[in-house]
């Protein structure tokens, strides 16, 4: 009997010491994403990207000798769920930081909790309101719609066009884009001569475009997502309107070209460099990063999208900050994220400051034109 006790004790001790040695606490990365629902085309590649790179980093031995653990919840695009999941991530899962918030709605809803609990939060949503005014714990990686509008207006100025008609959908992205179009117009000397809208599921926009045709617009700007911009593009061709057409970064995917077909020829839009990675000059510091991400993603999941790239940027900025902070102390990691300088991501070169929690400039967008069914950088 005594012998048995001894053996048991020895075994228990042995187990304990083994687990002591191998289990340095994993670094817990929390994430709330919209993997299902209408914004799933954003959240789906984001989740795939996070999973892929967490796996990849762990295979290389983790960060500072600690494995990464990804804990994610799907909000389905419901801001209320996002809030609950973020609370759960902070209180029950004890995550060290949060990367996520696919949509602007989700992100804005969770900010009060993130700020109250004091946890580094890197959002993957677009709107400029997320980082303006600056919130202590909140950062973001995607370009803002204001940058997209600025890029379009810059090009209009170069071409000497000042009278512009805008046509936008009724979604959040569209409306926020329209706001920026209205707001930035005076700065660039642009006069908006027509301001039309449509429902995102409408099947025909010729009525609105007929009105635009009868105005004295010199160019048309369309801000929208999904199939509607493709229908607008086709309708413009159908009506024989020959004005230059600008689309937003929301349609910077191959799907748009496929849907709009020949009508897409000559359409210009601001797009993240990922879309035109192969065409960048070899000297461009972003090129290797973009190609590496693109090849890795496409090898596993099919055509790459810029949205997954935002998740890559968010995760890598977080990992770099943890490395510099030498651990997962939340305040230190936050400070290090804010000190991110010259980080080359898929979205551009990030230079964050205490005043700028995104760190991208308008140059992060490339103005592209659709020619022969593919993207060409406009010089």
């Amino acid at each position: 009997m005594k012998n048995l006790w001894q053996t048991t004790l020895a075994a228990v001790l042995l187990c304990a010491s083994v687990s002591w040695a191998s289990a340095a606490e994993p670094i817990k990365i929390g994430s709330v994403l919209t993997v299902t629902g209408p914004a799933s085309f954003l959240g789906d590649p984001e989740l795939k990207t996070l999973q892929m790179y967490v796996e990849d980093l762990n295979a290389k031995g983790g960060v500072k000798g600690r494995k990464l653990e990804l804990i994610h919840y799907d909000t389905g695009g419901n801001a209320k769920d996002a809030v609950n999941f973020v609370k759960r991530l902070i209180k029950n899962d004890n995550v060290d930081l949060i990367v996520g918030g696919t949509t602007t709605g989700d992100t804005l809803a969770v900010i009060p909790d993130v700020e109250k609990e004091g946890i580094p939060f890197i959002s993957l949503a677009g709107a400029v309101e997320i980082i303006e005014p600056v919130k202590k714990w909140v950062f973001k990686t995607p370009h803002t719609d204001r940058m997209a509008v600025a890029k379009i207006y810059e090009d209009l100025r170069k071409r000497g066009l000042t009278k512009v008609a805008i046509i936008t959908g009724d979604g959040g992205f569209d409306k926020s884009g329209r706001e920026q179009l209205l707001k930035l117009a005076p700065q660039y000397g642009v006069t908006l001569v027509a301001d039309e809208s449509y429902g995102n599921k409408d099947t025909d926009m010729t009525a609105q475009l007929t009105k635009i045709r009868s105005s004295d617009a010199q160019a048309i700007i369309n801000f929208g997502l999904g199939q509607a911009p493709a229908i607008v593009t086709k309708n413009i061709k159908q009506l024989g309107i020959t004005l230059p057409l600008y689309q937003s970064h929301g349609v910077a995917s191959k799907t748009f070209i496929d849907l709009a077909g020949d009508a897409a020829e000559g359409v210009r839009l601001p797009a993240a460099a990922l879309v035109v990675a192969e065409q960048l000059p070899d000297a461009d510091p972003q090129k290797p990063v973009l190609l590496a991400y693109k090849n890795k993603y496409e090898a596993k999941h099919g055509p790459v999208s810029t949205f997954g790239g935002h998740a890559y940027d968010g995760l890598m900025i977080a990992v770099a900050a943890i490395q510099r902070a030498g651990g997962t102390d939340k305040a230190k990691v936050r400070d290090e994220i804010e000190k991110t300088q010259g980080f080359i991501g898929t979205g551009g070169v990030f230079n964050m400051t205490p005043q700028d929690h995104m760190g991208l400039t308008v140059d992060a967008f490339k103005l592209v034109e659709i020619r022969n069914g593919s993207w060409k950088i406009v010089q």
Binding site: E196, K201, T206, A207, Q208, T210, Q227, I231, L259, D262
Partner: protein, 291 residues
């Protein structure tokens, strides 16, 4: 100005014929069982998506269209056999709820099969716009218009001229009496689901080059088609066409002459007014109280 107005009219009629084509599909099942089939939009989507998939697999367009229509008919039959028939004897409302469930299911299957992306079908006869005075119209819209007219004629003739159509109508008027005079109600129901799935699929295939398609395209099309059908008087094929064209015209004129922000509000206000003053629709027959 006149030129603009002409374009609004043309736009209204082409959009309206699209709604009418979808609305037509509601008539068959409604006529057979008094049930509004909320999976009708999904039949439209299935037709379009299957045709796109088959075309992608290398089938020529006409063959892909026929095969897609047949596939949708099969889905319609399966739906009737495995979802509607087991609930035989259930109230109309219960059956309608079942069709909503079926719609969600079909959307889910389409999502798994074809993903979340939008897909397009090439236009049947090119994309070069045709000029009508100062207005322009796409050849595909003429296809939609033409086939709508053809199908309306066929559906009308089916209900008014053929024994089968009359038997189908009898099932909705009085199921028990229909059975007593020797009509096989079960077969009639299957026929109704199969045919309306086929109608939906044809609508979907014709519309896909204009509106594109995705797994959830059926939701909006089904809703607009349903609105068209109730405005015109559900169950009446001519009513669906009139309702669809009216709705399309209202949307186009509303967007063109008043404000594009209010065009849906204008159309819905009209639908509400019709239902308020003419609950059976503009061309619906007054419902007789059954005792």
């Amino acid at each position: 100005m006149l030129e603009q107005f002409l374009q609004f009219l043309v736009t209204g009629v082409t959009v309206g014929s699209l709604y009418a084509l979808v609305g037509l599909g509601f008539a068959l099942i409604y006529n057979a069982s008094d049930v509004v089939n909320f999976a009708q939009g999904e039949f439209v989507m299935l037709g379009a998506m299957t045709a796109i998939a088959l075309l992608g697999a290398g089938l020529p367009l006409p063959l892909a269209a026929i095969a897609a229509t047949l596939a949708a008919i099969l889905v319609g039959l399966l739906l009737e056999r495995f979802a509607i028939e087991p609930a035989q004897g259930a109230s109309v409302v219960t059956t309608i709820i079942i069709t909503i469930g079926a719609a969600i299911f079909l959307r889910g299957v389409a999502l798994l099969l074809w993903g979340k992306d939008f897909h397009a079908l090439p236009s049947f006869s090119g994309d070069a716009p045709i000029r009508l005075g100062g207005a322009t119209v796409l050849p595909q819209s003429l296809w939609v218009l033409g086939v709508t007219v053809l199908l309306v004629g066929l559906v009308r003739a089916f209900f008014n001229r053929t024994l089968l159509g009359k038997a189908l109508l009898a099932c909705s008027f009085n199921r028990a009496a229909a059975q007593l005079v020797g009509i096989n109600v079960r077969v009639m129901l299957r026929l109704a689901y199969g045919l309306s799935a086929g109608l939906g699929a044809i609508a979907g295939i014709l519309i896909a080059p204009i509106t594109f398609s995705s797994y959830e395209a059926g939701v909006m099309l089904g809703l607009k088609g349903f609105s068209a059908a109730i405005v015109g008087g559900i169950g009446n094929p001519m009513g669906a066409v009139a309702g669809g064209v009216l709705l399309g015209l209202l949307e186009a004129l509303g967007a063109g002459l008043i404000s594009s922000g209010y065009k849906d509000a204008i159309a819905f206000l009209f639908v509400l007014m019709v239902l308020f003053f003419e609950p059976t629709g503009l061309f619906g027959h007054k419902a007789a109280e059954r005792v």
